[in-house]
Symmetry: C2
DNA sequence: CCGACATCTGAACACCGTTAAGATCCGGAC
DNA sequence: GTCCGGATCTTAACGGTGTTCAGATGTCGG
């Protein structure tokens, strides 16, 4: 039973591993369920006993990758020198961008338009935790804290995305590091300096696309 | 010849229009070349006399959409009240994010991982132009100008992307506006306040993934 | 030993992007 | 006016895709 057991030990895990390798080799969409299955040594329909569809496999893989990234960022924060909360956030941002650039296809898949798998660690959470730490250390007013995670996540994610998709090119990896650090620092000092964006009494207006821009034509 | 001329007047344009509609209806990838062709009333292979492949059609469509967005942002800047360069940049950022949220599928396609079509207007350029305007108005030091477009583009693009893919949810369109404005303002004041990220003598180190992070395992 | 159950197989379906060979139409040269 | 060349579209086909379904195969508790 050692050569080719009929019951594969962990087909789901093997499929996820193979899919991730294939993504890394051929791009976020340059692979097929059939190829993944055949690489694992199994028929194409076997996968459907573990994943409802190809998309479900992608979602699960995305969750796995995101959890790994979150743990990686947590460690990057912990390794930051001097335990300065600001420096920790810079380290997290740098790690985020580095990761996307180093593994663009996997990053692209991980942040695809899927609803997040609930219950798994997420990079967003480590950003939030580090921002909380910054507030308790006095580096950011509590008044400026709400929504701050949106701002720094957006900044970091935007840089990562634009670099990963080739819309921005920088000379070498340390230029990437430098730009990421500058961006995080800028957002943090900017958030600290700006008073507040007027919370506004009631926030939900009709919610229809009433005052929308609408280029669409 | 009015009913169904054998030579379609502008097949390429019609295909692009149909593809854009289909993208809007079913998502950035929820359509096929065959469906686009059949909607235009033409066989599937007819498209290959105007586009080398489905991907080429996507690239062309992306260029068209990006050019439209650029023009839209230019007008948004021009419409900004008081002609304050800062306010103009806020207006551009807001327009960018609004657009992505209002037309998420098209936005997703437009910013896909294609190389940009050369020679067509690009949103990046209007950001650059507005940043130049900010410098000449004294709102940003010339020393801080280089690379500033990367920072503000990253911030705005990140917010747009995260909102469009559902990774961040906000209550209603004016919450989106407010967050976009806050983000742009934060980045601008942060860039103005930060001295400089040490340009560094030579920038290109071995460029191999030497000091890379490498989560990949 | 046997039956229940999870697991995987093999064949099939409709659809996809892409290519090749041929029919059709248009515009310009004579 | 006629004819021809080239652009334009059609029909048919190829291999590959996600997905489904009936059945074969292994595992395990009774």
């Amino acid at each position: 039973m050692s050569e080719r057991p009929y019951h594969h030990g962990d087909l789901a895990g093997a499929l996820l591993d193979a899919a991730e390798s294939l993504v890394r080799e051929r791009g976020a969409d340059g692979w097929s369920l059939r190829e993944v299955s055949s690489r694992v040594g199994v028929g194409p329909s076997a996968a459907y006993h573990h994943f409802a569809s190809r998309d479900a496999l992608v979602r699960t893989l995305s969750g796995r990758v995101l959890a790994r990234l979150a743990e990686h960022l947590r460690q990057a924060a912990a390794r930051a020198r001097h335990a300065d909360p600001r420096q920790r956030l810079v380290a997290v941002g740098r790690g985020y961008v580095r990761w996307a650039v180093a593994d663009p296809a996997v990053a692209s898949l991980a942040f695809g338009p899927h609803h997040d798998e609930p219950g798994t660690p997420h990079p967003r959470d480590v950003l939030s935790a580090e921002l909380d730490r910054l507030v308790t250390a006095g580096g950011l007013s509590a008044a400026a804290r709400p929504g701050a995670e949106v701002a720094v996540w957006a900044a970091v994610h935007g840089l990562a995305t634009l670099l990963r998709d080739g819309h921005i090119r920088l000379n070498g990896p340390n230029a990437v590091d430098r730009e990421a650090a500058r961006l995080v620092r800028a957002v943090l000092t900017g958030l600290a300096a700006t008073p507040h964006p007027r919370p506004s009494r009631t926030d939900h207006r009709p919610s229809g696309s009433g005052s929308g821009a609408g280029i669409t034509g």
